[in-house]
């Protein structure tokens, strides 16, 4: 299967946007070659600012630019964007309702060999708890390009989390809308909701389960906030159990967002696949997914257990 880099497409889409919209400004914090914002810099050096190793400074600078009418994309690794500069995002960007699009890369265990210090496992939780902030976790390049183009046209703050790893193409064509989700496979025994790299795993789990006579509905919850409550409620009526899958802590992420809707609407058994409130480590991304229970076979096993219970 051909794997494509979401980060490359982010950088390329920025260049595309830069051509049509002179108001787009891009900031980075000395990781432009990793986040791929350097592509924008090559074409529009006057609208690119590398603020150096100063993530907090970058976020507040983004706020100042946005307050003067710029549409600002600010990028660095997910842990530094949301962790180091949390309070700057909270006050100077989010509370102030400014058009800053934080597009962070190297989210999750899939960051791999760099280890715990570089693997953001709580960024969704940190961003999701902020009123007004929209949180988006794309699973392929088609989504990235549509998301970046769409949010550039919507006023207000966004958080977009990208993995370091390349991923298979899931969509032939995708059009992002805030709050959207996509049913990728129909099914009526169990629903598996996933985001980011876990969407591909969920699709594989679908096949494993199918071979065992279990019909799994697969939903891509690309918009973690706002979340598609209708799709969750429908699943609560039409399927018997729910599994959520994310390369993120099970606390505060997609799993909790879905659990809230399930609980308040019509409780059905729910299991959250993700990093189970534990520290991570260095390793190949697949070795890590294996150890921490994020592979398709894990998802399928959890599904069978949940339906048995």
């Amino acid at each position: 299967m051909k794997l494509l880099s979401l980060r490359d497409v982010y950088g390329e889409t920025l260049v595309e946007l830069g051509r049509s919209n002179p108001n787009i400004v891009v900031l980075d914090a000395d990781l432009a070659f990793s986040t791929k914002t350097h592509l924008f810099k090559e074409f529009f050096p006057d609208r690119f600012f590398d603020l150096g190793l100063a993530e907090a400074d970058m976020m507040s600078t983004a706020a100042g630019l946005a307050s003067c009418g710029k549409i600002v994309f600010a990028s660095t690794f997910a842990i530094f964007a949301t962790g180091r500069a949390y309070e700057q995002i909270r006050l100077s960007i989010n509370y102030s309702q400014l058009s800053v699009k934080i597009v962070a890369t190297h989210a999750g265990l899939a960051t791999g060999a760099d280890g715990y210090s570089h693997q953001a496992l709580e960024d969704i939780a940190l961003m999701r708890v902020l009123p007004n902030m929209q949180v988006i976790a794309p699973c392929d390049t088609e989504q990235v390009s549509s998301i970046i183009k769409t949010i550039a046209q919507i006023d207000g703050p966004f958080y977009v989390r990208l993995p370091k790893i390349s991923l298979p193409k899931i969509y032939e064509h995708f059009e992002f809308q805030p709050g959207c989700s996509v049913v990728l496979r129909e099914g009526n025994d169990i629903t598996i909701g996933a985001i980011g790299p876990m969407v591909a795993e969920a699709l594989e789990a679908h096949n494993i389960l199918k071979s065992k006579g279990i019909s799994a509905r697969i939903i891509d919850f690309v918009s973690v906030k706002p979340i598609d409550e209708t799709a969750i409620k429908k699943a609560c009526i039409e399927t018997k159990a729910f599994i959520t899958c994310e390369d993120h802590s099970v606390i505060g992420g997609l799993g909790d967002a879905v659990a809230k809707v399930i609980l308040e609407y019509k409780p059905i058994p729910h299991f959250r696949v993700g990093v189970q409130d534990t520290f991570s480590e260095s390793g190949d991304h697949t070795d890590l997914y294996n150890k921490y229970g994020l592979m398709a076979n894990h998802i399928a096993n959890y599904a069978i257990k949940l339906l048995d219970s």
């Binding site: 100063a54 507040s60 600078t61 100042g64 003067c68």
Partner: protein
């Protein structure tokens, strides 16, 4: 479009400063909480900016129909916002009776600046250390758009212990943001002790100079010196200006002056009356 009043004489500015001080004391007394010390130390700075230095228009503040060429003021030391509220209301950004509802629910005047709620406020602050970065963003946008507006940002001398200030200070000089002028309210005190005893940021002028800034030192309660420094900052090309304004925390109220205790305490009604009498007859 502007509402600067170049005709104002020193005497009139001093009168406005006195009225502002009385507003601050009254507001914080009625609110029952707030920060008189650092609000009183920056009165002349804020009055000079709004009444003599900045180009702005109370009829077209930040927002959809704003005057985009206006000068910007960022109160990085957000806890001193009573000073700014008093001046904004005097300029006509909002009605004066708002002042007496400071810090009350639904008042429009929160305990720290909110750019969404309050007309005339340019940046949401209160968490110290963020304002210089925000001002940099505004100044960069001004350069990009080839606009002539200037950006002013007021920092606390304790606030500069925040690392983000120094991150930002490098950006300001790296991009030669001569359309930005920072003012340091050098009142020598923070909450727990003097700045010298806490982290000792001295020597101040040399630090900012070595970070690529033009530095001027003035008496922060002297309008003549302040106005000259602001005028000078406009002539400086290729780098930002830092005006170190030597001030007195609690200035104008004898029992508050240089007192740590008055950093964040509301005066009683008795103390309030005493203070107002003193301000009227210094």
């Amino acid at each position: 479009m502007e509402n600067k009043r170049c005709d104002l004489k020193m005497k009139e500015l001093q009168e406005i400063a006195r009225e502002t001080r009385k507003d601050i004391i009254k507001m914080i007394n009625i609110a029952g909480s707030g920060h008189p010390g650092g609000s009183l130390s920056c009165v002349e700075i804020v009055v000079a900016l709004y009444f003599r230095v900045m180009h702005h228009n109370p009829k077209a503040p930040r927002g959809a129909t704003s005057w985009t060429d206006r000068d910007r003021f960022v109160l990085s030391k957000g806890h001193s916002v009573p000073t700014v509220y008093s001046v904004l209301s005097r300029m006509g950004f909002f009605p004066r009776d708002w002042l007496w509802k400071l810090r009350k629910i639904g008042s429009g005047l929160d305990g720290h600046p909110c750019m969404i709620k309050t007309p005339g406020i340019e940046a949401s602050t209160g968490s110290l250390g963020q304002g210089l970065s925000i001002a940099n963003g505004m100044a960069l946008a001004g350069k990009m758009d080839k606009k002539d507006y200037r950006v002013y940002v007021l920092l606390g001398d304790g606030e500069i212990e925040e690392g983000q200030i120094w991150e930002a200070s490098m950006t300001t000089s790296r991009y030669g943001l001569d359309n930005l002028c920072a003012i340091l309210d050098h009142n020598r005190l923070q909450i727990d002790d003097s700045i010298k005893n806490i982290k000792n940021p001295y020597p101040l002028a040399e630090k900012w100079q070595s970070f690529g800034w033009e530095v001027v030192e003035v008496d922060g309660h002297n309008f003549d010196e302040l106005l000259k420094a602001f005028e000078y900052s406009k002539q400086v090309k290729g780098k930002p200006t830092m005006i170190i304004a030597n001030t007195i925390k609690g200035k104008g109220v004898s029992f508050m002056e240089n007192q740590l205790a008055w950093h964040g305490k509301s005066p009683t009604t008795e103390q309030c009356e005493l203070a107002i009498k003193e301000i009227d007859q210094p």
